[in-house]
């Protein structure tokens, strides 16, 4: 334990730099995934047939292992940050799409009827009623994607994408346990911290949505 603390103190710039790289990779992959998946979910709800097609493909694609996606990105983009980002984006968009889409689909149909009844257009109903109510489900998908992205970003080190995985790989290669743990412990801590904070956000949103729904009753 002492050796571990000494290592962190002596190499704080290295560890912080790699942690920053790690977060940048995870955050941009998750953000890109959200930017693609959220409009897909909206389109999927407006055009149900297309939505069902998307969902079927996403369910199958989710079974493809992340490391295989990472490997398959190399022939397309070479090694480095770009293929790692592609793999992260592809993996992140699946849970975000599935959660947002199912969250929108499972809303009580009478809500949409009521919106229509008071003269709202389809778009107004979607933006003002359905999207806010399905927000907790979407954040749930974001949470899964963000936590997974921390794990996949550790694998980015294998293809030259940097991040805390670098320290783990160096530690394995040099048989240096301290170095190995200096990568593994922060990576695990990041994943747990992201899970706990997004779970708290999701709980907050669920409570707020319930309050709004009760007020509407």
């Amino acid at each position: 334990m002492q050796a571990f603390i000494d290592f962190l103190a002596d190499n704080s710039n290295l560890v912080l730099g790699l942690a920053g790289q790690h977060l940048l990779l995870s955050a941009s992959g998750t953000a890109l995934g959200l930017a693609i998946a959220f409009p897909m979910a909206v389109v999927g709800v407006l055009l149900p047939r297309l939505g069902q097609g998307f969902a079927a493909v996403a369910n199958v694609a989710q079974t493809v292992p992340s490391f295989a996606v990472l490997g398959l990105a190399i022939p397309l983009l070479g090694i480095g940050f770009a293929p790692a980002l592609l793999a992260l984006t592809l993996r992140a968009l699946l849970p975000i799409f599935l959660n947002a889409y199912v969250g929108l689909r499972e809303l009580d149909p009478s809500l949409r009827e009521a919106a229509k009844g008071i003269g709202m257009t389809r778009w107004q109903s979607l933006v003002q009623i359905e999207l806010p109510l399905s927000l907790p489900a979407t954040v749930g998908g974001l949470r899964t994607a963000a936590v997974e992205s921390i794990g996949i970003a550790t694998l980015a080190a294998f293809i030259g994408g940097g991040g805390l995985g670098d320290l783990i790989l160096q530690g394995i290669a040099l048989r240096d346990t301290t170095r190995l743990l200096a990568g593994a412990i922060p990576a695990a801590a990041l994943a747990i911290a992201i899970e706990l904070s997004l779970a708290a956000l999701q709980r907050h949103l669920v409570r707020r949505t319930h309050r709004v729904a009760r007020a509407a009753d």
Binding site: V64, F67, A68, G71, V147, L180, A184, A191, I192
Partner: protein, 203 residues
């Protein structure tokens, strides 16, 4: 695809190795996870701490989990199997506990009302109702394990990952595809097979 066609025996051998590591790990997890899940569901005060711990451990990135095991277990197949079975164990344990916990109270009361003993209630009421959830856990664990098992090659356990790593090291895209594609196909095949088993369990 060329690589697979030129080296069918090697790819097949690695495939069998991959399957053996994955199924071995899932089997270990099943043997430990089912009793642990039952215990967590039956002993009320254990449920929350066990499920919370399992949930937190499950978040640890796979490469980091292997890294935590290497100092004590070294490199090799046993480390890979232990790491893989930890993830599977968490999924199976959680699903068994949730499956047993979700048996409706009126149903338990009814079983008690017609004079069933605790064992009979467990065997004829709770187990059949928790079975689909258990099989679902087994499916998620198997698919996940096949995916993570490709990393096991890095710590010397073999499998399709050997081709992915060798392909990355030698910049041979064909070799990467020869490792990555069969891994994905194996995961998909196991998913389909166990989805079928899940439907059978639901009947």
């Amino acid at each position: 695809m060329d690589y697979i066609l030129r080296n069918p025996t090697l790819v097949l051998e690695l495939g069998l190795e991959h399957l053996a590591i994955s199924l071995g790990a899932v089997l270990v997890a099943l043997v430990l996870g089912v009793p642990l899940g039952i215990t967590a569901a039956k002993v009320r005060w254990l449920e929350l701490p066990v499920l919370t711990t399992a949930g937190l451990l499950y978040l640890i990135p796979s490469l980091a989990l292997f890294a935590f095991l290497i100092p004590s277990l070294g490199l090799g197949t046993q480390t890979a199997v232990v790491g893989l079975s930890i993830y599977s164990l968490l999924v199976i344990l959680r699903n068994v506990a949730i499956g047993l916990g979700s048996v409706p109270e009126p149903l338990r009361d009814a079983a008690r009302g017609i004079g069933m003993t605790a064992w009979q209630r467990f065997r004829y009421v709770e187990v059949p109702l928790a079975l689909p959830m258990t099989v679902a856990g087994l499916r998620i664990a198997t698919v996940m394990t096949i995916g993570i098992a490709s990393l096991a090659a890095y710590i010397g356990a073999g499998g399709f990952g050997v081709l992915i790593f060798r392909g990355i090291a030698t910049a041979d895209n064909d070799m990467i595809v020869a490792g990555a594609l069969p891994t994905a196909l194996m995961a998909l095949a196991c998913d389909a097979l166990l989805r079928f088993a899940e439907r059978l369990a639901r009947r």
